[in-house]
């Protein structure tokens, strides 16, 4: 086999106020898919960003193919054949796929031979099952297609070592499966694929070996996947297998009282196309109504319409029997509508501001945080501290810059703020997406306990398991319409899966 593809030894990396990596060792071989497993904030992305040349380690060595290397920039790394596909894609939306691919290439001739190039791109795409039309502008592509472009871009720059940061977080199950096939193909050709993940099943299905990080340190290095069980992996990742068990014994049955009612609500999306078509549904007091469906069937618009961020083009919304159709987002917040948005950093939080500024986002304009036009700093500080404390957001201070928190801390902060509204209705969109096991558990517990405190919860999630686990009833959204509502007892995966795929007739017959 010769030298390992990658050998990282004793990597240390600290950010202001956070230690991300402590003496991490990591080794991967040519021709394997190597999974890097760990919770949010375990230091996976940091470690791989160091390998990809984005950060410099404070200490430690890196060797590629046995040769010691020092990277000063991602360009250096790609010169040594290391390329990374980040969670947030770096594509130029207004350019075509081919143009985006060209952007990353060294030595592009002044006079472009676009035709040849497009053909090459298409061939490369076909070889790796990364099918995407090179002549289409990127803004027209789905998230999954954009990811394929990113992978193609990295391969075309000559990456022999391909790092993917939680690539399936944004994909549909089918797309995920395709991606796994691609990754295996890439590894089969002798390259190395490093898959950052916290999804155990995915890791089991595709990886040859697995390394686990916890709290910024290595807890397992290069275990062959056949020699560990899922439970063992989970234990390595979380450190405590007990916390994995989810219990729901305390559930009080939902009341008959209606918290939220949608009557024939319609809405259009950003492009002006109908996104919701006469949607009617109810959320009862003390009930979690799960909305299942493949992404892009109106979930986003549904959440926005309920939260007051998007106007309804038809129909009525009633909260506790009162018509709130005309209420603004702020008026709804006042009436107890909490909203956990899909895009935490893009919408729910302000990364460049301190934690305290984010904590008071719904409260800054009234007592006790404000007195007339004035803010009261001491109250803000105390309020923020109480949130951090009550929701166990360790390691963050009211004056910490928000974007330096880990994914799990961010979601806890967001939830803490929304729970502080003492909500009557919670609109939760993908509340656990991208979170590690412990944070997921905590978020789900909070939603359950809010429900038990007689809040109504509208849970929108692409994770069918989550919907099945949490919901009292499940509604399936397909092409902007509710195609079926089932109670948890009646729900089975295949029925719901059929409805999600648009074959609700078949589903009804099956049921």
């Amino acid at each position: 086999m010769g030298a390992p593809a990658i050998q990282m030894t004793g990597i240390d990396k600290a950010f202001p106020g956070v230690v991300a990596n402590r003496g991490v060792d990591f080794e991967a071989r040519w021709g394997e898919v190597h999974a890097l497993l760990g919770e949010n904030g375990a230091g996976k992305t940091t470690l791989m960003s160091i390998l990809a040349g984005l950060y410099r380690p404070d200490a430690g060595q890196i060797a590629i193919d046995g040769q010691p290397v020092t990277f000063h920039s991602p360009r250096d790394a790609i010169r040594h054949g290391v390329g990374m596909v980040y969670q947030h894609y770096r594509l130029v939306a207004s350019q075509t796929v081919a143009e985006n691919l060209l952007l990353g290439l060294p030595g592009v001739p002044f006079r472009l031979r676009a035709g040849t190039f497009i053909r090459q791109a298409r061939e490369l795409g076909e070889r790796y099952h990364l099918r995407v039309d090179p002549s289409r502008p990127v803004w027209q592509l789905s998230v999954g297609e954009q990811q394929r472009v990113e992978i193609l871009k990295t391969l075309q720059r000559g990456a022999r070592i391909l790092i993917l940061d939680e690539p399936t977080a944004v994909l549909t199950p089918q797309e995920s499966e395709d991606l796994m096939r691609t990754l295996r193909q890439i590894a089969f050709e002798g390259r190395t694929v490093i898959l950052i993940s916290h999804k155990l099943e995915e890791v089991r299905s595709v990886a040859h070996r697995v390394s686990v990080l916890r709290g910024g340190a290595t807890v397992a290095s290069g275990l062959p996947i056949g020699e560990v069980t899922t439970r063992q992996l989970a234990t390595l990742m979380v450190g405590d297998s007990n916390s994995l068990v989810s219990t729901d014994d305390t559930h009080v049955p939902a009341g008959e009282e209606i918290r939220l009612q949608l009557q024939d609500v319609s809405a259009i999306d950003d492009r002006g196309l109908p996104a919701l078509k006469s949607v009617s549904l109810t959320v009862h007091v003390g009930e979690i109504l799960g909305i299942a469906g493949v992404a892009g069937n109106g979930q986003h618009e549904l959440a926005q319409v309920v939260a007051g961020l998007r106007g309804a083009t038809g129909g009525r919304l009633m909260l506790d029997g009162r018509d709130i159709t005309a209420c603004t987002a702020r008026e709804r917040t006042r009436r107890g509508v909490a909203h956990i948005p899909e895009d935490r950093m893009g919408e729910g939080l302000v990364g460049n501001l301190p934690v305290a500024d984010n904590a008071i986002l719904h409260f800054y304009d009234r007592p006790p945080i404000a007195n007339g036009p004035l803010l009261l700093p001491r109250r803000i500080w105390q309020f923020t501290l109480s949130l951090l404390d009550r929701f166990q957001i360790h390691g963050a201070r009211p004056d910490s810059i928000t974007r330096l928190l880990s994914g799990g801390q961010l979601q806890r902060l967001l939830l803490a703020r929304e729970m502080a509204l003492e909500p009557r209705l919670i609109v939760a969109v993908h509340p656990t997406r991208g979170l590690d096991v412990a944070a997921t558990q905590q978020v789900q517990d909070w939603l359950r306990s809010a429900r038990d405190d007689s809040a109504g919860v509208l849970l929108i999630s692409e994770d069918l398991d989550e919907v099945l686990q949490l919901s009292d009833r499940i509604a399936v959204l397909y092409e902007g319409q509710i195609v079926g509502i089932v109670s948890r007892e009646q729900a089975d995966r295949s029925t719901i899966g059929l409805m999600m795929a648009g074959s609700h007739k078949a589903a009804v017959e099956a049921a």
Partner: protein, 355 residues
């Protein structure tokens, strides 16, 4: 392996180090500029001592330096308000002229009528603010409601404002006893700020100081300041929180224009004592550089404005030493170049030498 030097991005730089980088940049700029002066056959030492003498060497130079800083600081504070919301108001120049226009409009009524200064000056100040704000209203509204690029609109309106003032002083507002010069009638004493000391410094100097302190407080401690922060950093989050993003943007723009308007009023009442078509030597544009260098921090804007005032007066002093004025400008330019270019780069990146 060969020796290589590279720039690397750094996450954040503590304040003392930032000040150090800035001071180093000024020093390097002065050295580079001095070298050019020396190469041109003049004494760099004489040039520098002229600059220092001309800007801080005695009560008259200090007075002139502070007087020059007043309009820069006042417009700079306004510019910073808009920039904090990511509105690139580069219309400070026009808003400054409109402020002078508004103030003069009131003066033409209240001055000859003999209103006491304690009433006339505040009314002129308010008129200056309103006229400057009005000049920012259109770009602000177009931007917030219709997404029209405010850089273009504010810039274009600068020319309109200057032409408007020129029209007035060539036409209806021309001083009948002014020997046909394009000036408005001279302000009577009740419409001017009292002089302080032996230079041009006047009591209007307290206006930017008070404004900076008020602004500092407002930005940090009020609901409006908070809204500006959130809208400026993440408009999506502001919308999510139910803030009225468009109104917040417009209000920032109005305050920004109003501050420049106040600067115009203070300049005509404090220094020029009449309205004409050459009120500003690019104050509105220099204020953009100042606001940027000061990282939009109100107190830093005051400080940087004084330094700019010193550069302006130091430049005059150089030419009185027999050194061509162009070389004085070269010196200023080098210092600015190093501060803006080099200083800024090293605040964000670090140099790493490797073998």
């Amino acid at each position: 392996m060969a020796l290589s030097i590279r720039l690397e991005r750094r996450v954040g730089l503590p304040l003392p180090q930032r000040v150090f980088v800035l001071a180093l940049a000024v020093l390097l700029g002065a050295l580079a500029g001095g070298l050019l002066v020396q190469l041109s056959g003049y004494s760099a030492v004489a040039a520098f001592s002229a600059i220092l003498d001309g800007s801080f060497g005695g009560s008259y130079p200090v007075s002139q330096t502070l007087a020059a800083a007043i309009p820069l600081a006042t417009i700079g504070l306004g510019t910073a308000v808009a920039f904090r919301v990511q509105l690139w108001n580069i219309g400070g120049e026009g808003q400054f002229y409109m402020g002078a226009f508004g103030a003069t409009g009131v003066e033409l009524i209240g001055g000859p009528a003999g209103w006491p200064a304690i009433i006339l000056l505040p009314v002129m100040l308010i008129a200056g603010f309103l006229a400057g704000a009005a000049w920012a209203l259109l770009p602000g509204w177009l931007r917030a409601w219709h997404g029209v690029n405010e850089i273009i609109t504010t810039l274009m309106l600068n020319y309109v404002a200057i032409l408007w003032v020129n029209y007035l002083v060539y036409g209806p507002w021309k001083d009948p006893q002014g020997h046909n010069f394009p000036f408005s009638p001279r302000y009577p004493d009740n419409a001017t700020f009292a002089r302080i000391g032996d230079g041009q410094l006047h009591s209007g100097v307290f206006i930017p100081v008070v404004a900076a302190v008020v602004l500092l407080f407002v930005l940090a401690r009020t609901r409006w300041g908070y809204e500006l922060r959130v809208v400026g950093e993440n408009a999506e989050a502001a919308r999510y929180a139910g803030m009225d993003v468009r109104r917040t943007m417009l209000s920032a723009m109005l305050v920004s224009g109003g501050m420049a308007g106040i600067a115009g009023m203070v300049q005509v009442s404090g220094i020029i004592h009449l309205l004409n078509g050459q009120l500003s030597s690019n104050y509105g544009y220099t204020a953009i550089i100042i606001a940027w260098l000061a990282r939009l921090h109100p107190l830093a804007i005051l400080l940087v404005s004084v330094l700019f005032g010193a550069l302006v007066n130091g430049g005059y002093a150089v030419s009185q030493e027999g050194i061509p004025q162009a070389l004085g400008a070269v010196l200023q330019g080098m210092i600015l170049f190093f501060v803006l270019g080099v200083g800024d780069v090293f605040t964000r990146y670090r140099l790493r030498v490797t073998t």
